[in-house]
Amino acid sequence: MKHLLSIDDLTVDDVTQLFATAAEMHDVQHRSVKKLPALRGRTVINLFFEDSTRTRSSFEIAGKWLSADVINISAKGSSASKGESLRDTVLTVTAMGVDGLVVRHAASGAAQQISEWVDVAVVNAGDGTHEHPTQALLDAYTLSRRLGSLEDRHVVIVGDLTHSRVFRSNVKLLHKLGARVTVVAPPTLMPSGVGAWSAQAGFTTSWDLDEVLPSADAVMMLRVQRERMQGGFFPTPREYTIGYGLTRDRLAQLKPDTPICHPGPMNRGLEIAPEAADAAASMVLDQVSSGVAIRMAVLYHLLAGEENA
């Protein structure tokens, strides 16, 4: 594994190994001295072309606990608008002498394109509406800590699928791990061509949340971006919540202790009711702490090199 650009880059064995490493890293999180020497002398740049607090901090902590030098570069706005090509921006940053790039970009495919221009490890920290592989890894890792094997578990993903990189990475990874996945959204928020895609990628689609919820072993609510509310994708936030939100009433339809995930930031009252967000079965904060462990595992596997393997 040279880069982590997409869940497609990972075999089931890779995932198993990452989860095992993450479990060890998880223990470090609870020590008073949270520092491993694994990446001492290595430099990781968080190259963020799009704002992100949580993902950037999570990668930053992960790198620092592994003793890497971590530098955050915020390059917001497309480089096109600044008159510099993306390739030039990336080559400039890389020429400083870095070992790994953690890239977040508003454009789908950016991480892959960048990986073709540089010879250092590239981690995709979210590319447009394409993928967010470490989010999917941390989601699956969180769920597997709660549920054990995900084999044949029914995971329901609800929300703005069209614009969700979390959905795209999750549906691939959960399928790899043997879970049965149902994705739920109104037709206006379903990705184009999802019918053919789902048939081939082994997930099912539904417009009816109430029909699928009772059989769910886990529920993953996706954030509805503010700008979608003006985009005519659904008539009003109220109608969205009634149709697709994890409301108090729907919470009652779930099997007891069904884990509830949300990648954050949450729109309380829109896609998720406070009662669901704060429920005992809510995994939201576990996801955040698992996120650090997973990102430590990813950086470790990509950057620790042969001598530490």
Binding site: S85, A106, A107, A110, S192, G193
Partner: protein, 421 residues
Amino acid sequence: MTAIVVRAATLPTGERADLLLDDGMLQAVGSVDVPAGAEVVDADGLVALPGLVDLHTHLREPGREDAETVLTGSRAAAAGGYTAVLAMANTNPVTDTAEAAERVHDLGRAAGLVDVQPVGAVTRGLAGEELAELGLMARSRARVRVFSDDGRCVADPLIMRRALEYVKTFGGVVSQHAQDPALAGPQACCHEGELSGQLGLPGWPGVAEEVIVARDVMLARHTGSRVHIAHVSTAGSVEVIRWARQQGIAVTAEVTPHHLLLTTDLLSGYDPTFKVNPPLRPEEDVLALREALRDGTIDAVATDHAPHARHDKEHAFVDAAFGMLGLETALAAVRTAVPELAWADLARVMSFAPARIAGLEGQGRPIAAGEPANLVLVDPEARVTVDRDESLSLSRNNPWHGRQLSGAVVATYLRGQRTHG
């Protein structure tokens, strides 16, 4: 001017003949005695076609001379077997006045390799709001007959109606880039379908093209004017055009070589080389376009040659420039895509029909005595692997790089002068 005898060329009809080129004209076709001092070109095994005519070229001058100039674009055109190209109006400044059109026309004459015929903008500055000086461009030295806001759709139905009505007076035609901007969305960068859903790229549905084609054929019927649909890319557009022709509506249409051969799955690696507008479509559209070209529903092949500086393609996929090179590879790409097209059909779709649509005199004429000596000699057996670095274009955004295509242009003649080979 030295007379040239082209020996034993195969004509589109399949007959073999010698051709005598002198004084800019084809003086004789058949069995020719070589006049004293004439140059003899052995064309045994080569096919002679009438010089190709491209309805749709971007030459980038004025404004982006780093990507292409009239001269370098003319060289690429001649290398592709073209003797005339229509230069699209989306330069900077836009070709929306007589003076701008004459400038492009004159640059073309100065280059002297192909007839460069400017296309005039339909609306001022391509802004889609008010008509450009269509009549003055038509009356200018450049004799503009084709008008297009290519790169943008003339989206306002009333502006489109007025443009269609107005160009009738001088036999003009509006070439429409059919794409409803509301349905396509500002960030659309590829075909909307299963792959765009997976890649997370905002797409254009085929219907964004089809609704404009449908609207414009109805406007053409209503106004009794002629409309031309640029770079048709979907099966649905083909159906609408086929219907319109059956109704006797004056609609013509073109298809690009890349839409006849390349499919949307090339985008799976996010390579902006394959980012083009209209986008590459799935196989079923490609098959429908080939069928439409064979049965005459689509009249012409046009390249949409769109050179871009390297750095304008080295952005994230959604930010990269639209377009790909096409002049040098067009004939071979079409032969590769639709090998069943006979030479006579190729002459029709790449020379006669585009010249007729554009109203170009002295282009797209049959290979016969008394006609202008615009010719291209093609080696039908050649198999060429395209190397983007061998291009005469200033740009390298070549989607054919590394592909093997069948047929090679050996020589091109414009009014008896060799312009390539």
